[in-house]
């Protein structure tokens, strides 16, 4: 069995930075540099780039064959570093001179990055494999003309639960059921957890309506006494697997790993609606090797490469040409491959602009209660 922790904490807090302390974390936000130091020259995207590519990715988010395959095909040496939250990634790019050529931000972060001018437009003539992308993953609201980003992998956020103990569930109501007091855990992420409350109330995950947000806050305050805590998705999975909790709020790839290992567990995309998230490849404005970056993006969009990725991470592929090559054990799972009627009730998290701080305040208020 593969042992890996895909998408370590899409949740926004940086446990990994932990011990650094407050001063340390502040400093690293201001001053972090990647541990690779790209040598000078070869900028500007001409044909004379050195054979080097600096990839900044979520950890364990490529298959074992992905990078060696690219290096073999192109002779370009790949250096991969990892980030643990979209906010980390943004802070690093905003501090300038990140030195990365390809980054993998999620949906709402792509639009924030576009608005903050930290990405460069893609030259689509250099990415012929874009034809493989499913129409479902083009022209998404965060990048309506596909100018800056290409979908990498996608997944959903739902509930991993112990069906043998809980019985069949199908909606967010289960996460508010007093019967399971102390056996529920949510994701420590404003948008996902406030989002779950908004979905349950029948609102949009991108609501900026004050009354709706206040209702969602009340719902989260009502839910808090039932919770074991707010954790990263990768932490909720083992809590459910070990029987510490019965219901965990998790990302699909984490959940599917657990479901394949233990048939008592089930992953559902709750009613009425749930989140579909998409991680994307993009090129930072100051990238040193934009030519190589385009080659890498094009390589990822090859049918076989895309299929290998998903077969390893258990997350969905936006690549239509990859679909026939996916493992059967995955494609048979409705949670991996949601039918159209389920897909239609999935919503993509968008940037909420000024309201972001209101979201943050509400979440602080709930956690602090």
């Amino acid at each position: 069995m593969k042992r890996r922790d895909a998408r370590i904490s899409r949740g926004r807090f940086l446990k990994v930075m932990g011990a650094a302390g407050v001063a340390g974390s502040t400093l690293s936000v201001l001053a972090c540099q990647p541990n690779t130091s790209p040598s000078q020259g070869g900028g500007g995207g001409g044909g004379s780039e050195e054979k080097q590519l600096n990839l900044y990715n979520w950890s364990e988010y490529v298959a074992e064959s992905t990078i060696p395959g690219f290096e073999e095909q192109t002779g370009i040496q790949v250096t991969q570093d990892f980030f643990s939250s979209n906010e980390d990634l943004l802070a690093k790019l905003q501090a300038g001179g990140s030195g990365y050529d390809v980054i993998v931000p999620s949906d709402y972060m792509v639009s924030i990055m576009i608005k903050s001018d930290v990405l460069q437009p893609l030259d689509k003539s250099k990415i012929p494999n874009m034809k493989n992308l499913s129409p479902n993953f083009r022209g998404l609201p965060y990048d309506p003309d596909d100018e800056y980003s290409v979908a990498y992998q996608w997944g959903t956020t739902g509930i991993l639960y112990n069906r043998a103990e809980v019985g069949k569930i199908d909606s967010w109501d289960a996460m508010w059921n007093p019967e399971f007091e102390g056996q529920i855990a949510m994701i420590n992420d404003v948008r996902e957890t406030l989002g779950a409350a908004l979905y349950r109330l029948g609102y949009s995950v991108n609501s900026t309506d004050q009354e709706q947000l206040q209702e969602a806050k009340a719902a989260l305050l009502e839910q808090k006494p039932l919770l074991r805590g707010y954790f990263a998705s990768t932490e909720n999975r083992p809590l459910v697997q070990n029987g510490d909790i019965l219901l965990g709020h998790v990302f699909s790839g984490d959940a599917i790993t657990a479901v394949i290992e233990n048939e008592d567990l089930e992953y559902i995309i709750p009613r009425p609606r749930a989140t579909r998230w998409i991680d994307n490849m993009a090129i930072p404005a100051g990238a040193q090797h934009p030519g190589n970056a385009h080659k890498f993006i094009n390589y990822i969009l090859e049918a076989k490469v895309g299929a290998d990725l998903s077969n390893y991470t258990y997350y969905g592929t936006p690549n239509e040409a990859s679909l026939p090559m996916l493992d059967k054990e995955l494609t048979e799972l409705p949670s991996f491959n949601p039918p159209d009627e389920v897909f239609d009730r999935l919503e993509v998290i968008e940037d909420t602009g000024e309201t972001t701080r209101e979201y943050e305040r509400i979440f602080t208020e709930v956690k602090s209660a």
Binding site: S116, G229, N242, E354
Partner: protein
């Protein structure tokens, strides 16, 4: 002769202090000034900051929500300091005065946890206290409980984790202070008719005051800035100032407010320490 010798010495001193002054200036003082400047700025919606004079960031700290977090943080840090003192003092006393030839080995044991990162040690507690963890299995094996107990992700687990993490910072300065203690003073006090209790409170404890003060400061400051343990062992159900500052910088993209909170935290800590030294320490220190 004497003059030139003096100059040579001060050049040598400059040579020795120069690197550290440069280091602290660049990586401590300059960032501190940046935080101060940021705290009066205005945050952009997408992060970044416009400098200026905008005191509203500080007014926001007095929002009841944030004020509550400030008060809670100071409470947790104080509680942690008192618990560390209560647990650390007897141990330091024992090692320093009764340790004999085991002294060095015992103090080494106190320091061993430093060889592993705090993060790993906190994760170890998650494993030990979990529903299926070592603690619960042992309790069930001994028949003390049938059902696994909820040991982790509670406020008690946070307190336990903080005491565990910071206890050595209390023990080491206490040990240093008590080790220098002249046992003959104790004998003298007893010869003069003091009870053991009186001897401790009127002789031993006052003489160990520098250690108490140093230990308390070393525990209090990092406790007030703590943000890992409430997340790891508390399930993020408790928000401390450290968590709040981190959220402001990253999630809320409000660097100005985050900076204002950081400045407030620094001012509060400085104030608390000055108050503490004046009230508790000064005359005791003078007595040494």
């Amino acid at each position: 002769m004497g003059r030139s010798k003096g100059r040579g010495w001060s050049l040598g001193l400059a040579g020795l202090l120069g690197p550290v002054a440069f280091w602290l200036g660049l990586f401590f003082f300059v960032p501190l000034l940046m935080i101060l400047a940021y705290s009066f700025g205005t945050s952009g919606v997408y992060g970044g900051i416009t400098l200026g004079f905008n005191p509203t960031n500080y007014l926001k700290v007095f929002d009841p929500l944030y004020l509550e977090i400030v008060v809670r943080t100071l409470f947790i840090a104080t509680l942690n300091t008192l618990l560390c003192l209560a647990l650390g003092y007897p141990l330091a006393y024992f090692i320093a005065l009764k340790g004999g030839s085991w002294k060095h080995a015992l103090i080494l044991l106190v320091m061993i946890p430093f060889w592993t990162s705090l993060l790993l040690r906190a994760y170890a507690w998650v494993v030990i206290l979990g529903g299926n963890g070592l603690a619960n299995r042992t309790l069930q094996f001994l028949g003390i409980t049938d059902e696994p107990l909820t040991l982790i992700f509670t406020p008690q687990a946070v307190t336990m984790g903080m005491v565990y993490s910071y206890l050595p910072f209390m023990i080491l300065p206490l040990y240093a202070a008590l080790e220098k203690f002249d046992v003959r003073l104790k004998e003298a006090a007893q010869d003069l008719g003091a009870s053991r209790w009186q001897t401790f409170w009127r002789v031993t404890f006052p003489l160990s005051m520098p250690g108490v003060i140093a230990g308390s400061i070393l525990v209090f400051i990092p406790s007030a800035g703590e943000f890992v343990i409430p997340n790891l062992l508390g399930g993020s159900r408790t928000v401390m100032m450290g968590n709040l500052i981190q959220q402001q910088f990253l999630n809320a993209r409000d660097w100005a407010f985050g900076s204002a909170l950081s400045v407030m935290l620094a001012v509060l800590l400085l104030g608390a320490i000055l108050f503490y030294i004046r009230r508790v320490g000064a005359e005791k220190l003078e007595g040494v």
